[in-house]
């Protein structure tokens, strides 16, 4: 799963979903998981280019809920680590995709 993303903002840092704190939003770049698992995540809305907002989590921060494509999906850290994102400098309100 690779997708070239236009990183025109100098502040954007390569990161993964685990780096997001509650309320942070970021754009998904790629999923570093076997094809089958990546497909499953994509069917749930984790598509490259989609905005993901970190939500609440279980005590201890694992698993964590993410708001993506109109739903809320919980992932364990071990999975969230494999989803690379680039962060936006400012917090952005989740815009529902149609």
């Amino acid at each position: 799963m690779q997708l070239s993303v236009n990183c025109d903002l100098p502040e954007t840092l390569p990161a993964s979903l685990v780096d997001l704190r509650h309320g942070d939003a970021a754009i998904l770049d790629g999923i570093d998981l076997p094809m089958e698992d990546a497909r499953r995540l994509m069917e749930l809305g984790f598509l490259p280019g989609t905005q993901i907002t970190a939500g609440r989590s279980a005590p201890g921060g694992d698993p964590q809920v993410f708001q993506v494509d109109g739903s809320e999906i919980a992932l364990r850290r071990e999975t969230a680590r494999r989803l690379t994102v680039h962060r936006k400098k400012t917090k952005v309100e989740a815009k529902p995709r149609v």
């Binding site: 995540l41 809920v65 494509d69 109109g70 999906i73």
Partner: protein, 629 residues
Amino acid sequence: MSGCSDCSSCNSATVVEFPGSRTAPKAVAVIGPPNSGKTTLFNRLTGLHQKVANFPGVTVEQHTGIAALPDGRTIQLIDLPGVYSLSPRSEDEQVAHDVLTGRRTDTPKPEAVLLVLDSTNMGRHLMLAAPILALGLPTLVILNMADDLRNRGGRVDLEKLSAELGAPVALVSARRGQGVEQVFDFLAGAMLKPAPKELPILQDVPKCRQWAGHVGTQASYRAPTPPKWTRRLDAVFLHPVGGPLLFLAVVIAIFQTIFTVAAPSQTAVDWLIEHSGKWVASVLPAGLFKSLLIDGVWKGVGSVIVFLPQILLLFLFIGILEDSGYLARAALIADRTMAKVGLQGKSFIPLLSAYACAVPAIMSTRTIENKRDRIATILIAPFMTCSARFPVYLLVIAAFIPNRPLLGHFLSIGAAAMLGLYVLGFVVAVLTARVLKSSILKSGRTPFLLEMPSYRWPTLASLGLRLFDRAKVFLVRAGTIILLVSVLLWGALNLPYTNGHPPEIANSLAGTIGRTIEPVIRPLGFNWKIGIGLLTAVFSRETIIATLGTIYGMDPEANKEGLQAALHHDLSLGGAFALLVFFAFAMQCISTIAVVRRETGGWKWPVLQFSYMTVLAYAGAFAAYHLIR
């Protein structure tokens, strides 16, 4: 399965006539992603006319139901498992795919499809429309949860959406029953083959999502605002400190209620069974038939039916937790703890339920999608101290362990022993899970994905239907397997029948069997009488009390003191401990064995589980007998 090419031929809409006659119900499949309210709609359409079974050979549950049309015709509805796509990867998707394409011989090929989607999340849910429409079957696209869409300011142009999809569209609220008549109209009327404007390549998920987005834009879809109440409630239920505390409170409340509220209702059912038995006894002439009916059927089946209130109560709780959306949050909170044993959050509720009864617990493992995690949960569930062990523990502890205070007023030795047995079962379950998950049931790196549905009020209709369903399953079993076993036991205790009198129990068929197995159980400190008890307990644990009561010629309920005293003749202190350990570990429950076979789709797992637990019980009892003499 490439989408566009398949459908080039069906651009001109053709009317499909049903070949079926008025008597043979036409089959229509109901499909939709998880959390689309598919089951709620299915319940709306079929009501009480449902049948639950397993698709042969797989663990996927098959729900079929009969929908009655206003004109009197009936249609068979097949509720397919909730899936996100039709690409056959998981077992659920495989079954959905095979049923829709007519590859399953056990299910009629559907002649039409009801596609249920969540209207509040139409963009993502429409992705499933692509592979469904590509099948070329007459399809009604049902946008469910219309009430939520409206209340949260979303909208959609149904005519444009229908034009874009080339299929009729209905906006309904299955929970409130709004718009459901459109579904009946579709089922009753002439059905058109879908003729969508375009379909994406089904294998390409981003393309499918793009297509879904495009269709939504064409239909002027405006997504609703995020659910305000769900966010507010999650701030409480998923609070770093308050969340786990509330979770514990919920767990304790369920546990406590099952034990306390269920007791009076059980007494009531017990009373009903006893008095109906007495009434039947009073109207029947004395004789063999009366003995069979009262001693065999009434006592045997009755001893199992007393658990009905507990089971219904448990399913009421699970129903409320699941329908409200809290179950997903509970699974999230429990996930880390369960992960330490190699299991996952979704295993928690089934294991908790197993403290009441392993049968509903094993049925509730259906919420676990990962097959290996599900089987591991099924295999360890019977180690949890179920309510059928409770009376056995109570009897043996009362007979052998003096009720002296251990920690002042807080804990007596008897209560500590009871607690110890609960802990023992739990520890063995955890160890077994670890062993299983690091060997035969090691699951790959399948990521744990848990969708958090919005909170919703559970409806009375849906809860009622669940309870009705479970009660039916339970009573049918009591009326078949358990009835048969009870009759057989009665026969074994009354044979050989000489000179019009039943034999002494020691000389009866059951007694002979007991004495035959005595050498095997002697090393555990059990004699043949306990042996008969163990054998009948294979059918259900608490039966041993009734059996020993019969053997000692006493009424077990009315004369506990007598039974306790009599036990001292047959068991030493070591033997009593051995018996407790044996009951803690052994899989003495025919219902559990049956339900494991049903849920795992074969004999492999129940046989393995029964063998493992029996070996463990024998070894544990042997150790206990020789350590405590």
